[in-house]
């Protein structure tokens, strides 16, 4: 669900490229997971960066969000949209 042309899923970022979270498709997640994502710091306007992609297919991703690094799978990363910082 891309609202703006400048938005892309976090998954599309290159490693080390810093961007801001533009939108999170919370409807695509169960409520508990959506809340946990928020508790881990994923929120609109927060700066993010992919710091690592796992070997064997680049899944999961290690994403730096604020001061924290969180591992998540690409399937979930697709629900997080970013825009240029």
């Amino acid at each position: 669900m891309t609202f703006f042309a400048s938005h892309r899923p976090i998954d599309a970022l290159a490693v080390g490229e810093i961007a801001l979270i533009a939108a999170i498709d919370r409807a695509g997640l169960d409520p508990a997971t959506a809340q946990r994502l928020c508790e881990l710091g994923f929120d609109e306007g927060v700066d993010v960066e992919i710091v690592h992609r796992a070997p064997f297919g680049g899944d999961p991703l290690a994403v730096r969000v604020g001061n924290m690094v969180v591992a998540l799978r690409r399937e979930m990363a697709r629900l997080i949209e970013v825009e240029a910082a």
């Binding site: 508790e39 881990l40 927060v46 290690a62 001061n67 924290m68 998540l72």
Partner: protein
């Protein structure tokens, strides 16, 4: 600080209860260890398999509080049974937990904005709350300066800077608690939902106000991760770490295991020399000492394995291992978190199954418990050693020894079996969506010796208590079954054949005949129910050798060579890859799943897998050889 009645005992004898609450990786357990030292008690909450850790905390005003280390959680909205315990304890409705008099919110100074959100959520409850701003040293290292006085002002809460691993700030924390804990018991707060996003926003603003960044954050962790998570170097490093760990587990443990064995043997000899021959001596030597010895002998391996696992966990490397392994685990329907319990299961499935408590999805956890016994535990090694020694020629294949290759193949067969089992289970009995994989990767830290040692102590006592009591009881029962009825006067067969175990084994023979097992094997599998390695000594008994131990294993090897055709020996090895026999594993599964259903299921599916594997091996080997 206003400390009324300083140094005077409190009027009421009521012991205040203080809970440590905080995000995982906030250094909560280190703070708990620093505050309570060795005066801690590890138990279980009734009805749930969540550990309760509590200790005594002497306050500067002379009162002694009970300090409870509640499971780490990100909020009061739980996602796992552990997190539900924290919520229920705070709201005063956890069975087995007293009402709280104060909360210490442990906050990671290097990750202020996420952790402050939880503090704001806790503050809204209205209970006496003190913020422990932990790991301020790491924040300084990462170039973050925090104005803690300003933070205290803005929060309206006492804020104490601490460095738990170096015991800094503990006195100030005690003083703050003294000042905040009243004498009257408090009414637990009411549960109200909170708006996570609003709190998160508020926390971010708060953090931005009190933080001054004087350098790039997390530089060290990122630098290490560039190697540890490198697409090529990362997996190689993990393989190297695991290789070194297993080398250590098996080679360092060899000597102490020998001492324990000779100690038990000496004790048995001593008893045999002092007590009259008879059933009582046999009970002590063949039942109690043999049974307890069979467990205690694995203690060195378990100690070394946990030393490695706890140290790797503390440094933060274990989450990197989980990250690297997630892809492989995902293919069979599990996630990276299952890796650590499965790793522990290579020493013994009992601590491995206990370690599954960190898996947040109940289905993933159950699947991991069910496949844990397929990891080749050290109890299989004596069996493998005897059979490989008897039937696999000690010659070289290229640069490798054939015997070593066969052993390696047996380990590999166990791992592959576990992956196939997980794949099948996740599509049948543990079917259903698992919550998506989300895992915080904490920064790297130097492990603290005190925390590793206290963790080791806790795991080892839990292992000895749980496995020790069960195996002791079951070996006594199996000893009785293998000893009675006694052989008639003038009986020519080995005494075990006249016993109940022998009769059961003989009755089972037709079941095992199609997979190439003879009557002796069937009989040996009955006392071998207690623990897999007991099958070795049982075989010794069946083949009428007295007291088969390491010292005269050679004679058993000779004996087996004459008694078993090669396909039978290979089938026996294949059986032990899947072998369901281990009462401790079944008992711990019953405990951790709180029902008999899963241990019975585990036994049945492992039995079926072992039967099929042994049968296939026997028939293929018979056709080829």
């Amino acid at each position: 600080m206003n400390a009324p009645a300083a140094n005077l005992p409190p009027v009421s004898a009521r012991q205040p209860v203080v809970a440590l609450v905080g995000n995982p990786n906030a250094g909560k357990t280190s703070l708990f260890n620093a505050l309570t030292g060795s005066r801690q008690k590890v138990g279980n909450y009734p009805g749930v398999t969540v550990e309760r850790k509590a200790g005594r905390l002497a306050l500067p005003d002379g009162r002694v509080a009970e300090l409870v280390d509640l499971p780490g959680t990100y909020s009061l909205t739980p996602r796992s049974p552990d997190e539900a315990v924290t919520r229920d304890a705070i709201f005063g409705r956890m069975v087995g937990e007293k009402r709280l008099d104060a909360i210490v919110a442990v906050v990671d100074a290097t990750n202020l904005r996420n952790h402050l959100r939880f503090v704001l959520e806790l503050k809204a409850l209205g209970l006496p709350l003190i913020v422990a701003l932990n790991m301020v040293d790491l924040a300084a290292r990462d170039g973050i300066q925090i104005d803690s006085a300003r933070l205290a002002d803005l929060l309206g809460l006492p804020v104490v800077e601490t460095v738990a691993v170096r015991r800094k700030g503990l006195d100030a924390l005690g003083a703050a608690l003294s000042a905040r804990i009243g004498d009257a018991p408090l009414t637990p707060p009411e549960e109200r939902g909170s708006d996570v996003r609003a709190l998160q926003k508020q926390a971010r603003q708060l953090a931005a106000t009190v933080e001054t960044s004087v350098g790039s954050a997390k530089a060290w962790s990122q630098r290490i991760d560039r190697v540890a998570l490198h697409p090529v170097v990362g997996p190689l490093l993990l393989a190297l770490v695991l290789f070194f760990m297993f080398q250590a587990v098996f080679s360092w443990a060899e000597a102490p295991m020998g001492w324990i064995e000779s100690g038990v043997a000496a004790l048995q000899a001593e008893l045999a020399a002092t007590l009259p021959q008879g059933w009582f001596l046999s009970l002590l030597n063949d039942g109690v000492l043999a049974g307890v010895g069979a467990v205690v002998v694995f203690l060195p391996q378990i100690l070394i394995l946990f030393l490695f696992i706890l140290t790797l966990e503390q440094t933060g490397y274990m989450t990197r291992a989980a990250f690297l392994m997630d892809r492989l685990m995902a293919r069979v329907g599990l996630n990276g978190r299952a890796f650590i319990p499965l790793l522990s299961s290579f020493a013994c499935a009992v601590p491995g199954i206990m370690a599954t408590r960190t898996i947040d999805s109940p289905r993933d956890r159950l699947t991991t418990i069910l496949i844990a016994p397929l990891m080749t535990c050290s109890a299989r090694l004596p069996v493998y050693a005897v059979v490989i020694g008897a039937f696999i020629p000690a010659r070289d294949v290229g640069p490798f020894g054939l015997q070593g290759l066969v052993l390696f193949a047996l380990y590999l067969a166990g791992i592959l079996g576990a992956l196939v089992a997980a794949f099948a289970l996740r599509r049948t009995v543990t079917k259903g969506a698992a919550p998506p994989f989300l895992m915080e990767m904490p920064k790297y830290q130097l492990p603290a010796l005190r925390d590793v040692m206290l963790g080791l102590y806790g795991r080892v006592t839990a292992f000895l208590q749980r496995a020790g009591t069960i195996i002791l009881a079951s070996t006594i029962v199996l000893w009785a079954m293998a000893s009675w009825p006694q052989p008639p006067v003038g009986g020519t067969k080995p005494p075990i054949e006249y016993s109940l175990a022998g009769k059961i084994g003989a009755a089972l023979e037709p079941i095992f005949a199609p997979i190439g097992f003879n009557k002796e094997i069937a009989i040996a599998l009955v006392p071998g129910m207690a623990a897999r390695e007991v099958a070795v000594s049982a075989l010794g008994t069946v083949y009428a050798l007295n007291d088969v131990s390491e010292d005269n294993a050679g004679s058993l090897i000779e004996r087996l060579r004459g008694a078993w055709p090669l396909p039978t020996a290979l089938a026996f090895l294949a059986w032990f890859v899947f072998a369901p026999q281990c009462i401790s594993t079944l008992a711990i599964t019953r405990r951790e799943t709180a029902s008999w259903r899963w241990p019975i299921f585990m036994f049945s599916y492992l039995f079926a897998a072992a039967y099929v594997a042994a049968g296939l091996t026997f028939h293929i080997a018979s056709a080829l050889l």
